[in-house]
């Protein structure tokens, strides 16, 4: 299992959706610099990626949508219809609702590819 913690590996104060809106702490940057890298490593090793959302000051909906929905969009726009959540486990004990919210963001992107 590959572990990725937003609080420990990225930031304790996640920002907005885009880098232009909150440089250094955006969902866009998290997706490109951490999530995509860890996800592809997990897939390459036939392993799973566990992403832990706990320990931060809180999330804006758009940070997580840009991170996870954005990752699914990234593959969809490249003609790849995989479901990223088949290799990703979300841990969110502080705010359990994020787990189902992220599933909804990814599902929305999957439905666009049908």
């Amino acid at each position: 299992m590959i572990y990725l913690s937003v609080a420990k590996d990225f930031t304790k104060t996640p920002g907005f959706r885009y880098e232009t809106q909150s440089p250094g702490i955006s969902g866009e940057l998290f997706r490109m610099s951490k999530l995509l890298v860890s996800y592809e490593q997990a897939v390459k090793n036939n392993d799973k990626l566990e992403v832990n959302l706990d320990g931060t000051a809180g999330y804006l909906t758009s940070f997580l949508e840009e991170a996870f929905g954005g990752l699914q969009r990234y593959y969809r726009e490249n003609g790849d219809n995989r479901n990223i959540l088949e290799s990703i486990t979300i841990v969110s004990d502080d705010e359990p609702h994020w787990k189902s919210d992220i599933e909804r963001y990814v599902q929305r992107e999957l439905e666009k590819s049908k």
């Binding site: 920002g15 959706r17 000051a57 999330y59 804006l60 705010e95």
Partner: protein, 209 residues
Amino acid sequence: MSKENLKNPNSFNLVAWLWGLWAGTIVFFGLMIVADAKHITVSREISFQIDPTNIFTILITVYLAVTVLRQLNRRDEGDKLERDLYIQSLRDFHSQLTSDVHGLTVTTGVAGTTVASTIKNLGLALQETLVLINMSPCDNKENITLLNNQFSKLRNLLTYVPHKLDTTNNVVIKSGNMIYSSAYITSISRELAEFKKILFLIILKINRS
């Protein structure tokens, strides 16, 4: 109000009952001594017999009646105290929610990280409050589900930052601050009002239980 009564309002205070029985026994033997024989003259014209055994029976009956009434009163007071505690926890959350949401919708905007942390703290406070409400004697499962769903709507509204393609300008990011349009603030107020309505229904239900 003893802690035992709060834990189990129906518990019988055995110690108080035994003290009462002992006091009643003292009264009985006291009366026996005072009465001496079996006759007590009330006046020159009227004299009648008062059987000390009857006096003792009456005293015990009165004592038991008073004890039972006091126990029932204590139980009612305990129930009322519990209801008040549940309602107070809901009122406290109501105040926190109103104050925090009002703080997020100021016209000058609020830092995105502040919005995120405020919503997280509100969510945690709500879950703690709902754990307490689940302990109340009346069934609030349906209303709790409604409350959670309504909070999700409120949270999504307050933490939404638009896509590049969204040109509605409902939420504008300026120097790291989230600024909501007037129309958007109206939507937030509407969802907040709906949330408060559900909260009010839960308070009513607990108060009537």
